[in-house]
Amino acid sequence: MTSAAPARRLSAAGFLATLALGLAILFGAPHALDTFGLVQCTGFAALAMFGLSQGFVWGFAGVMCFGQAAFLGLGGYAYAVAVLNMGDSSVPVLLSILVPMLFAGLLGYFMFYGRISDAYIGVITLTVSVILFQLVNATSGSQYRIGVAELGGFNGIPAIPALNAPGHPDEPLDIEGIWYAAMGALILVYALLRGILASRLGRVVVAIRENETRAQLIGYDPRLYKLIAFMIAAGVAGLAGCLYANWGGFISPTVFALPMSAQVIIYVLVGGLGTLIGPMLGAVLIQALIIAAGSQSAVDSNLGLGLVLVGFVLLVPQGLVPVARSLGLRLLERRPRRVAGTAQDGLATGSAR
């Protein structure tokens, strides 16, 4: 057996285990948790999807986007403005995906077709999110409105109508319904990204990350594939923004702000670059820590986030899931005879942890 076979089995098992775990959480949480816990988990699901978007564009396409919050914010605001104007939430959800994708298409065209360096891409995306923050922050006053929706400047948009069954704007989802929508969407997006990565498009995207020159020399245009991956990630982040707006029924310019972009980078770095499960777990872990830290007032949570970021870059640059995975693989290879019996269990815990 070649050494890649267990890795592939591990990956397939990890996918199925993640799906199973996701579905178990989806249907189990409403029974196991009280309302407050369910609301909190809805927030986790939205941020986990945000983590997925960063994990995809950075870990698989190798695009150093430092301003993923720009797409989260655009998605959230697109949903809020559209649903306030339309009532029914179906088209607003679509817009929350399409608006960030189009914006990413425009920005990405200039960045990728200008062939700028990775450092420049990081800085430009970061700058774009900072300036969107400043721009939206400065929209106080009733003259800044789109249709009936006032943008509200730094106060944001309150009382955003929740999702509703298509065609029934008078029947918004309750807290449990929004949980099912958010967690269900997270599972769907995860499966979709896994599908993309297994498809030819995904393989080429990863190949370009590995060696852009070789990809070009066999006939692929790296600029185009990076642009596509960038747009997909922006769409996912936009949908996460839509869920985020639904979670609190409120959105403010802080979704565009630097700490948001930094947090999603930390999700991916902590969870593991080059995995999809890692960024989701990283999101939940970091958010839980932020909430826990928020209950004390002695130390500002940014200090902890900064230490985590520096610490992981210095000490665990590959992140937790890959470390766990390679530990699992090593255990497997050390006990080849018992693989058949214990593989599924070991693998499932190894990658779902």
Binding site: R200, E210, N211, R214, L217, I218, G219
Partner: protein, 252 residues
């Protein structure tokens, strides 16, 4: 110069060449790496490029594949002017290259490397067939699942050749294909090149003279960015100027 004219086909009738470079010049700042090169390659021709280090061979390859845009001159591939075209566009016209330093997808498996190369605009079934054929042809089936980054240098060379073949190009450029290979591997490479040459045109850059004798019919000698001579392999290797160039003396 009594080289066999590349403009004449098997039946002696004039043929349109596969590659035609005219007056190609590449300057980097004050350095001229390739100077006014005229180069013609016929369909299904095998050509060796030799010359000392820094003679401009690899730069010429980079110009042919679009990795560098020539300062002056034009290059045609059959009816298409490819001067300054993007590398991926030139690759799509049927040009494949094994570069001097192995350019492979280190993080992917051997199978995935070949799959990505084979799969551009082809059905899955056809892609799989090409991948299987290429892996078998190059004896890579046994290590198909291995990650390329963990392979030995020689094996990575073979993986790179496999990606080039899987792309099904019409013109194959090989930059020092025998470098770092064992004696036995060199023989296999020579055999493979002769086999490919039955249906495809190749340009091979090499320093290894015995290897060149194994494969070459016509040899083009580069020196200081210019073409020093172009002739049959025997005539070139017997030429005093070529020996001088390789020994470091400057040609008169």
């Amino acid at each position: 110069m009594n080289a066999p004219s590349p403009l004449t086909g098997h039946h002696g009738a004039p043929l349109r060449p596969l590659v035609e470079a005219r007056g190609v010049t590449m300057r980097f700042g004050g350095v001229t790496a390739v100077a006014d090169v005229d180069f013609t390659l016929g369909e299904v021709e095998l050509r060796c490029l030799i010359g000392p280090n820094g003679a401009g061979k690899s730069t010429f390859f980079k110009i042919l594949t679009g990795q560098l845009k020539p300062t002056e001159g034009r290059i045609r591939l059959r009816d298409t002017d490819i001067t300054g075209a993007e590398p991926h566009a030139i690759a799509r016209l049927g040009v494949g290259i094994k570069t001097q330093v192995p350019n492979v997808f280190n993080g992917l498996s051997v199978h995935e490397n070949v799959f990505v190369a084979a799969g551009r605009r082809k059905s899955i079934a056809r892609t799989r067939r090409i991948v299987d054929e290429t892996l078998t042809r190059l004896n890579l089936t046994g290590i198909a699942g291995r990650t390329v980054g963990q392979l030995a240098h020689g094996q990575r060379q073979w993986v790179e050749i496999a990606t080039v073949l899987a792309q099904e190009p019409e013109l194959i450029l090989l930059d020092e294909p025998a470098a770092g290979m064992t004696h036995e591997e060199v023989h296999r490479t020579a055999e493979l090149i002769r086999e490919i040459n039955r249906t495809h045109a190749l340009i091979v850059v090499e320093h290894d003279m015995p290897f060149i004798r194994m494969i070459a019919k016509t040899v083009t000698v580069f020196n200081q960015g210019r073409i020093l001579m172009e002739d049959t392999v025997d005539a070139v290797l017997a030429d005093a100027r070529v020996r001088d160039v390789y020994l470091g003396k400057q040609a008169a």
